[in-house]
């Protein structure tokens, strides 16, 4: 067993059995990053000394029998999660020199549980994109084939997990940004229910859509991380006051009763979406067959407003973005353009030099849709359509435990292929956006490969706060399909 292949579960066991030390593991992974990340571009910032210090401390804790859930396990973080003392850029020039003065709640929780923060991963600027090509720093490459995108916006986190640079990572998902890169990189990605995980210390993009979640090598690890990061937080008024179950119970449920008694719905509208790649279709059919074999009853369901999801999302998300990103004005933090006539001129020059093209585009769309005279036609209307989309899902979950679908209509595309056609790029989000609009959880699990050897995932979505069903079905599926999801560097 090589260090780069270690899941959280395996690493924990080896650390606690004293077969390896966290210092060895962390140093080996840092070494791997140094040797190979120039080919992948998964990381924006790696603070070697800090990671090694955390590893030493974890080793001391383990030696003193102070055992916490993630003691000594190296985890990577998407670079929009605030880390005290470690630069947090959101892959934007406007935050190039931003050093947070506090840890985000998920970061505090990881640290309290002994995790080693191995580095901050690349992403689409402010999480706006589906390919990680919109980073101001570098384009992350898909570790399975470096001519292809890793997906996005958490492309750096997914690539880092796939390339064996860390045991697991955290990403964020506003419209598929955890699930889609996980699918493209052959790893597991879980977007929790809105409100399950505190957003305090996450740099906001679409506040009613954003959610932090795990990107891992297997489904068990997703449950382990979710156990740690979930829970109500006084610092986030939208975090839910609901009980957090032990998510690993999902695996006992599977061992005891397989997936018998579960019902999966397949939305008929999803099957008639234009441009589904035949290879994605093949993988999806096979996934359906596997789940049936495990006792899942498959039935057709209807989500009547599917055709309007992309349109409503690409109003709501840019509106929230235009409001959230107004704070980057060159006054309190980040970059400021120096030679300015007056304060308006300073705002304009700062924002224009600091934000990349996709961020500017979404700010403009949002500003337009929220401007006087257009608000009702765009934001108002989209918010009403959102209600209908939420109702579609509430109705669907009356008759099924989870919804089965592809993650993306096609496997990863070539770098540069879609960069000049933003609308084409938005349309590829069709299967993932709904979970954010409805606030429900979704998981992407590796399900097969394209003829070019690129991974293809399958998505399951469940009712609010029913991550257990996703983890149970995802685990059963993963165990049965038995894919060897390792990529050679």
């Amino acid at each position: 067993m090589e260090f780069c292949e270690l899941t959280i579960g395996r690493a924990q066991k080896m650390l606690l059995d004293h077969q390896i030390s966290s210092l060895e593991l962390t140093a080996a992974l840092l070494d791997r990053i140094e040797k190979h990340d120039d080919k992948i571009g998964a990381f924006i910032t790696v603070d070697k000394d800090l990671a090694l210090d955390q590893a030493k401390k974890a080793d001391q804790d383990i030696a003193n029998n102070k055992i916490s859930a993630l003691a000594g396990v190296p985890i990577a973080l998407k670079d929009l999660l605030c880390t005290k003392g470690i630069r947090t850029t959101c892959a934007s020039k406007i935050l190039d020199n931003f050093i947070p003065q506090y840890d985000g709640t998920v970061v505090s929780k990881l640290k309290e549980n002994g995790a080693v923060i191995i580095g901050k991963t690349n992403m689409d600027e402010f999480a706006m994109g589906s390919s990680t090509e919109n980073s101001s720093y570098k384009i992350t490459k898909n570790p399975w084939n470096r001519e292809y995108v890793p997906g996005g916006s958490s492309g750096g986190s997914a690539a880092a997990v796939a390339a064996g640079f860390c045991c697991a990572a955290l990403g964020t998902d506003t419209g598929g940004s955890i699930r889609q890169p996980a699918s493209h990189c052959g790893v597991v990605g879980l977007k929790p229910t809105y409100g399950r995980v505190s957003r305090f210390g996450l740099v906001s993009y679409g506040s009613s859509l954003d959610q932090i979640g795990p990107i891992t090598k297997d489904v068990k690890d997703a449950a382990i991380l979710l156990n740690i990061i979930s829970g109500n937080d006084k610092k986030d008024s939208t975090s839910a006051k609901v009980d957090v179950p032990d998510f690993t119970l999902a695996f006992d449920q599977f061992e005891k009763g397989s997936l018998k008694g579960m019902t999966a719905g397949i939305p008929k509208e999803y099957m008639s979406v234009d441009g589904i790649d035949p290879e994605v279709e093949t993988v999806f059919k096979e996934a359906k067959r596997i789940l049936e074999g495990l006792g899942v009853q498959i039935k057709e369901i209807s989500l009547p407003h599917t055709d309007y999801v992309v349109a409503a999302y690409y109003i709501i998300a840019p509106c929230e973005a235009s409001s959230n990103l107004a704070r980057f004005d060159g006054v309190r933090y980040g970059f400021r353009e120096q030679s300015c006539e007056d304060i308006i001129d300073m705002y304009k020059k700062t924002k224009s030099a600091g934000f990349g093209p996709e961020v500017r585009r979404r700010i403009i769309i949002g500003t337009y849709a929220l401007s006087a005279g257009y608000y009702d036609a765009y934001y108002g209307k989209a918010s009403q359509v959102r209600t209908l989309i939420m109702e579609d899902f509430s109705n669907a979950f009356k008759t099924c435990d989870f919804i089965l679908s592809p993650v993306a209509p096609a496997p990863a595309f070539k770098i540069g292929e879609n960069i000049d056609d933003p609308l084409a790029m938005y349309l590829t989000d069709i299967f993932t956006l709904s979970a954010n609009m409805a606030g429900i959880p979704g998981i992407s699990v590796p399900a097969g490969y394209s003829s070019k050897g690129l991974p293809i995932g399958v998505q399951m979505m469940a009712n609010r706060f029913d991550e257990i069903s996703l983890l149970r079905a995802g685990y059963g599926f993963e165990k049965t399909i038995g894919l060897d999801v390792r990529c050679e560097m």
Partner: protein
């Protein structure tokens, strides 16, 4: 839905963005495409449907009205692009 270059210019000003002629032209084209696509929302009958802003729980979240130690200016101003001790410096606002 056709968005003119003029409109893009106005919106950019509202958003406090400065974009040049070439970018404005490209943006007008892309925005027309995107908003053209979004126009399909017109087909949805939403009579009597309440708008949703997400699933956040619709009750107020209050905290105790208690004094707490503030992080202080050293922390608050640590990332300021330009500062004078406890103050942010900005270009002259009042003329």
């Amino acid at each position: 839905m056709k968005i003119s270059m003029d409109e893009v210019g106005k919106i950019a000003h509202l958003a406090r963005l400065e974009i040049d002629q070439v970018q404005t032209e490209k943006m007008a084209e892309q925005l027309s495409d995107i908003l053209g696509y979004i126009d399909k929302l017109k087909d949805v009958d939403v009579a009597g449907v309440k708008p949703s802003s997400g699933i956040a729980f619709m009750n107020n979240v209050l905290r105790e009205d208690k004094l707490k130690v503030s992080p202080g200016p050293l922390v608050t101003l640590a990332n300021a692009p330009q500062r004078d001790e406890d103050f942010f410096i900005v270009p002259r606002v009042v003329k």
